[in-house]
C-alpha cells in the first residue's frame, strides 16, 4: 500500500550550483502531521516548495493519494500553503482573502459566505471579515492565513515556518492553538520549521534534515531519545559530547571508557571494541552532587548559573567541559564557582556515535 503523500528520490539543484535537496524520500500517512526540521539551508523549504509546485525538482516524483503531483501546475495541486509572513493580499479584506480560493473555484453566494464564516469561526476570527489584514495583529494574520488555506478543505496542508515572524511568547501560545486546530480538522500536513519546540509540539513525526537529506525520521520521542546521528543529537535539544573508546560491545550497547570511568551507552551504529566514539550526554542527565557522593565522577564547577526554574552548571571534568542543567528546588543551595563536586550521569540516556 502506498503512502498518502509520497516523495521519491527528490533532488533539486539551483542555477548557482547549490544542491538544495539531495535525494529525499518521505512517506506521510493520511491525517498525519510531519515536520521537516533543520537549520537554514538544509533543504526543508525547497522540499516544501517542490510539493507546492513553486520549484521544479530536477529528479524524483511527488505523489498525493496515489496520483502524481509534480506534473501539475502549482494552481492545480490540492495542497494549500500557509506562507512564512502569511502573504495575505493587502488589497482585500479578511473575508475576501479567505474567499479567494473559493471564488477562483466559482463558489459564490450563500455557499461562499457560509464556508468563509465557518472557517473564520474555526480560527476564532468571527466578526473580523471586514478588516484589512494590515489592521490585524501578527497572531491574527497568521490565523487568517490558516483560514485561507483551510477553507478549501485541501488534501494536504503545507506550512512554511508560519510562526517565525512572531515574538517568542506569542509563538509559544500559537503553537499550542495551532496543534489543537490541526488535530481537530485532521488534515494531513507537512510543516517546515527550524524551531525544534514547534516541531515537537505539532508533529506526529519529525524528519530532521541536513544538507539536502533526511537524516532521521521518527516521532519526537525517538528523535530526542534515540538520535541516529550526532547531527540530530546536537540539533534537537542540547547535548554534551564526550570522546571515549569502546571497551566491549554487548548487544545494542557499548561499554565505553570515558571521563576516567566506564559507562554503558546505547550504540547508534554497529561498533566494535577499540572504536573511538563520541558519547552524547543530555545536560539534564547530569546531576551535580557533593564530591564525596559514592558512584560519582569528580568535577569542578567553572560557573554556576541560576535560571529561575533550573540551575545550569559549566563544569570541568577530566579536562572536558560539560554543561549540566537540572531543576532547582526553592531554597536549595547552588554550588559555588570553583567548588569540587561529584557528577551522577544517568546511564540509560547515553548514546555513542562512531567518530
Amino acid at each position: 500500500m502506498s503512502a498518502y503523500l509520497e516523495l521519491r528520490g527528490l533532488r533539486k539543484r539551483f542555477p548557482n550550483g547549490t544542491v538544495a535537496v539531495d535525494g529525499v524520500d518521505l512517506d506521510v500517512r493520511e491525517g498525519e502531521v510531519v515536520a521537516l526540521l533543520g537549520p537554514s539551508g538544509c533543504g526543508k523549504t525547497t522540499t516544501l516548495r517542490c510539493i507546492a509546485g513553486f520549484e521544479d525538482p530536477d529528479e524524483g516524483t511527488i505523489s498525493l493519494q496515489g496520483r502524481r503531483l509534480d506534473v501539475l501546475p502549482p494552481n492545480r495541486r490540492a495542497a494549500t500553503m500557509v506562507f512564512q509572513g502569511y502573504a495575505l493580499f493587502p488589497h482585500l479584506s479578511v473575508f475576501e482573502n479567505v474567499a479567494y480560493g473559493l471564488r477562483v473555484r466559482r463558489v459564490g453566494g450563500a455557499a461562499l459566505r457560509e464556508r468563509v464564516e465557518r472557517t473564520l469561526a474555526l480560527v476564532g476570527l468571527s466578526g473580523f471579515g471586514d478588516r484589512r489584514p494590515q489592521q490585524l495583529s501578527g497572531g491574527q494574520q497568521q490565523r487568517v492565513a490558516l483560514a485561507r488555506a483551510l477553507v478549501l478543505e485541501p488534501a494536504l496542508l503545507l506550512f512554511d515556518e508560519p510562526l517565525s515572524n512572531l515574538d517568542a511568547k506569542l509563538r509559544e501560545q500559537l503553537r499550542l492553538e495551532l496543534r489543537a486546530l490541526v488535530r481537530r480538522v485532521g488534515i494531513t500536513s507537512v510543516y517546515v520549521t527550524h524551531d525544534q519546540a514547534e516541531a515537537m509540539t505539532l508533529a506526529d513525526r519529525i524528519a530532521v534534515m541536513d544538507r539536502g537529506k533526511i537524516v532521521q525520521l521518527g516521532t519526537p520521542r525517538e528523535i530526542y531519545d534515540e538520535p541516529v546521528a550526532r547531527f540530530v543529537a546536537d540539533f534537537v535539544g542540547h547535548a554534551n559530547f564526550v570522546k571515549g573508546r569502546v571497551r566491549e560491545v554487548a548487544g545494542d550497547a557499548a561499554v565505553v571508557d570515558m571521563l576516567g570511568t566506564t559507562r554503558r551507552a546505547a550504540a547508534s551504529a554497529p561498533l566494535r571494541a577499540g572504536d573511538e566514539v563520541e558519547v552524547m550526554i543530555r545536560p539534564e542527565e547530569i546531576t551535580v552532587l557533593a564530591a564525596d557522593e559514592p558512584g560519582t565522577v569528580p568535577a569542578v564547577v567553572r560557573r554556576a548559573g541560576f535560571l529561575g526554574s533550573a540551575a545550569v552548571y559549566q563544569l570541568a571534568c577530566e579536562g572536558v567541559e560539560l554543561i549540566s542543567s537540572a531543576p532547582l528546588e526553592r531554597g536549595a543551595p547552588l554550588a559555588a564557582d570553583g567548588q569540587r563536586v561529584g557528577l551522577r550521569i544517568r546511564e540509560a540516556a547515553l548514546r555513542a556515535f562512531p567518530l
Partner: protein
C-alpha cells in the same frame, strides 16, 4: 521555451506578442535610420555620418552639442543639489513647500514656454533686461540656451537628490555631530559623499535630455547650432534625408552611451531610493551662512521660475509683451478661431488614445521582466528603454523613414486615418518606458509570495495577474497613464517631423506661430497647454494624494 510554454502559457504568449510589437515599432524604425546611415544603393556607404565629422562646419555642431550637454548637466546638477539641500537642510514649513513646488514647476512646462518667456523678459526688448535695467543683451546663443535648459532640467536632479537625502539615515549625521563635527564639516564629509550616486545619475540624465532638446535650440539657440535642431532643419528646410540621418546617427551615439551608463551604473540604485523610508524629520539644520547661501540661490531661482511662468501668461494676454503691453484677448481669439481648436482636440485625442496603451504595455513588459522565468526577458527591458534613450527627433526620423512606404505606410495625409497611427506609435514608444520603470519598481516591491499564494489557492496566471498583481500596482499603472498623457501633450521633438495637415499637434503649432513672429499667439497656445497639463496633474493628485506630482514628473 517549451517548458515555459507549459508552465507559463500566458507569459510565453505575451512574450511573443511583445517581441513582435517591439520589432515593428522600435527596432524597425531604428534599423531604418541605421540602414540609411551606412547603406546606399546596395553598397556599404557611411558617407552621411563621415561627412558630419569631416566637414568643419558640421563638426562644430557636434562640438556645440556636447558642450551644451556637459554644461547643462553640470549647472542642472548643481542647482538641483542646492534645491534638495535647501528643502531638507535649510528650510522648513511654508518656505520648504514653496521651494519644493518651484523645483517641480518647470517639469510641466511645454517646450518653448520657458524659451518664449525668456525672450519676453531678457530679449532685446526684454521687460527685465531692457526696460528695467536698460541692458542691451541678447539671449540668443549658448548663454541663453544654457539658462533655459538649466531651468528646464534641474528638477530632474532635484528629484534624484531629494530622494537620496530622504532615505539617508539621520543617525549617520547625528553620529558625526556626536563625534564633534561641525554642521559644515558633516555636509562635506558625510552628507555629500552619501549623495555621490546622485551626481552621476543627475548629470547623465540631464546630459541626455539636453542633447535631445529640440525646442530651445530652435527658438533661442541663434547661431549656436546643435545636432537635434540640425536634424529637424535638414528635413523641414532642405528635404535632405541623408543629411538628417547623418546628424541623427551622430547624435544617437552619446545619447545612448550616456543613457545606458546611467541605467547600468546608477539606475538600479535609484529604484531602491524612491521606495526608501521617508525622512523622520530629525535632521539638523545647516550652519546659518550655508543656509543663507542655499536659500539665496534657490529663492532667486524660484523668482526666475515664477516670472517665466507669469511672462508666458502675460504674453498671451497682451498685444506683444515688452513692446505693446495693451491687454487683449486677440491671441486666444486668433488661436481658437484658427487651427488652434483643431490642434487642441487632435492632440488631446491622440494623447488620450496612446496613454492607456503606453501605460498597459509598460505594465505587461514589466511583468514579463520581473515575474516570468523566460530566458532573455531582460532584453525586453532594454529594447523598450530604447524608446526613452534615443532623442525624440531621431525616433521621429526613424518613424518617418520606416513608415512612409509599404509594407507599413502610416505617415502622411494619404495613409490610414490620415497618418494618425504613427503619432500614436510615437507617443507610446516614448512614454511606455516610463510606465515600464514605474511598474518594474512597483512589482519588485510586491512579495512574490502573494502571487504564489494565489496560484496555491488555485488561480491561473491570468486570474492571479488580474486579481492580485494589477490591484497591487494600480497606482503605478495609472500614474504611467497620466504621465503618458501629459508627456504626449507637450512633446515636440518626436512628432515634429511627422505632422500633416490632417492632424495638428499643439507644440508644432507653437513652433509655427513663433516662426511667423506671432509670439503672442505662441504664448496663448502655451498657456492653454499648461492649463491642460495642470488639470491632468491635479486630477492625478486628487486621485492618489501628495506624491502625484513627483510621479508625474
Amino acid at each position: 521555451m517549451l517548458s515555459t510554454l507549459r508552465r507559463e502559457p500566458a507569459a510565453a504568449t505575451l512574450a511573443v506578442i511583445a517581441a513582435a510589437g517591439i520589432a515593428l515599432v522600435i527596432l524597425y524604425p531604428f534599423a531604418s535610420v541605421l540602414q540609411e546611415a551606412i547603406l546606399h544603393e546596395g553598397g556599404l556607404d557611411a558617407s552621411p555620418v563621415t561627412r558630419v565629422i569631416a566637414n568643419p562646419v558640421t563638426r562644430q555642431i557636434v562640438v556645440n552639442t556636447l558642450l551644451m550637454g556637459v554644461l547643462a548637466g553640470l549647472f542642472g546638477t548643481i542647482l538641483g543639489l542646492a534645491f534638495a539641500l535647501a528643502t531638507t537642510r535649510a528650510a522648513r514649513g511654508p518656505l520648504r513647500t514653496l521651494l519644493h513646488y518651484a523645483a517641480l514647476l518647470p517639469l510641466i512646462a511645454p517646450p518653448f514656454a520657458l524659451a518664449l518667456s525668456t525672450i519676453f523678459l531678457f530679449g532685446r526688448n526684454g521687460l527685465i533686461s531692457k526696460q528695467l535695467f536698460g541692458l542691451e543683451v541678447s539671449p540668443y546663443g549658448l548663454g541663453g540656451l544654457l539658462f533655459v535648459q538649466t531651468i528646464t532640467f534641474f528638477p530632474v536632479a532635484y528629484l534624484i537628490f531629494d530622494a537620496l537625502v530622504r532615505q539617508m539615515d539621520p543617525a549617520l549625521e547625528e553620529a558625526a555631530l556626536n563625534l564633534g563635527a561641525s554642521r559644515g564639516r558633516i555636509l562635506r564629509t558625510v552628507t555629500l559623499p552619501l549623495l555621490r550616486p546622485g551626481f552621476a545619475g543627475a548629470f547623465l540624465i540631464i546630459f541626455v535630455e539636453s542633447l535631445a532638446d529640440l525646442a530651445n535650440p530652435l527658438l533661442i539657440g541663434g547661431d549656436f547650432n546643435v545636432l537635434a535642431s540640425s536634424v529637424y532643419l535638414a528635413i523641414i528646410g532642405e528635404y535632405d534625408t541623408r543629411k538628417a540621418v547623418g546628424f541623427a546617427a551622430v547624435l544617437l551615439v552619446p545619447s545612448l552611451v550616456a543613457f545606458f551608463i546611467q541605467r547600468l551604473w546608477v539606475g538600479e540604485g535609484s529604484v531602491v531610493t524612491v521606495t526608501g523610508k521617508p525622512s523622520t524629520g530629525r535632521v539638523a539644520m545647516l550652519e546659518s551662512w550655508i543656509r543663507a547661501g542655499l536659500l539665496g540661490v534657490t529663492l532667486f531661482t524660484t523668482a526666475i521660475v515664477a516670472s517665466l511662468y507669469l511672462a508666458v501668461v502675460a504674453g498671451a494676454f497682451t498685444k506683444l509683451l515688452g513692446i505693446n503691453n495693451t491687454l487683449t484677448l486677440d491671441n486666444f481669439r486668433f488661436v481658437l478661431q484658427g487651427i488652434g481648436t483643431k490642434a487642441m482636440t487632435d492632440t488631446t485625442l491622440l494623447s488620450a488614445i496612446a496613454a492607456p496603451i503606453a501605460g498597459v504595455s509598460g505594465l505587461l513588459v514589466a511583468w514579463l521582466v520581473v515575474r516570468s522565468s523566460l530566458r532573455g526577458r531582460i532584453a525586453f527591458d532594454y529594447l523598450v528603454m530604447l524608446g526613452a534613450a534615443a532623442p525624440g527627433i531621431v525616433l521621429g526620423l526613424g518613424l518617418l523613414l520606416a513608415f512612409n512606404h509599404p509594407p507599413f505606410r502610416l505617415t502622411g495625409q494619404t495613409a490610414i486615418f490620415g497618418g494618425a497611427v504613427v503619432f500614436i506609435i510615437a507617443f507610446i514608444i516614448r512614454t511606455a518606458p516610463v510606465s515600464l520603470r514605474g511598474n518594474v519598481a512597483a512589482l519588485m516591491q510586491i512579495d512574490p509570495a502573494l502571487e504564489q499564494a494565489s496560484a496555491n489557492l488555485g488561480a491561473g496566471e491570468v486570474t492571479t495577474f488580474r486579481r492580485v498583481t494589477v490591484p497591487l500596482v494600480r497606482r503605478a499603472v495609472l500614474s504611467g497613464v497620466i504621465f503618458s498623457f501629459t508627456r504626449n501633450m507637450t512633446t515636440l521633438s518626436t512628432v515634429a517631423l511627422l505632422v500633416t495637415p490632417s492632424w495638428r499637434i499643439m507644440t508644432s503649432q507653437i513652433l509655427n506661430e513663433i516662426d511667423a513672429q506671432r509670439l503672442g499667439s505662441g504664448a496663448a497656445y502655451s498657456t492653454i497647454l499648461i492649463v491642460i497639463v495642470l488639470v491632468a496633474i491635479v486630477a492625478l493628485q486628487k486621485l492618489f494624494g501628495r506624491t502625484a506630482v513627483e510621479v508625474a514628473a
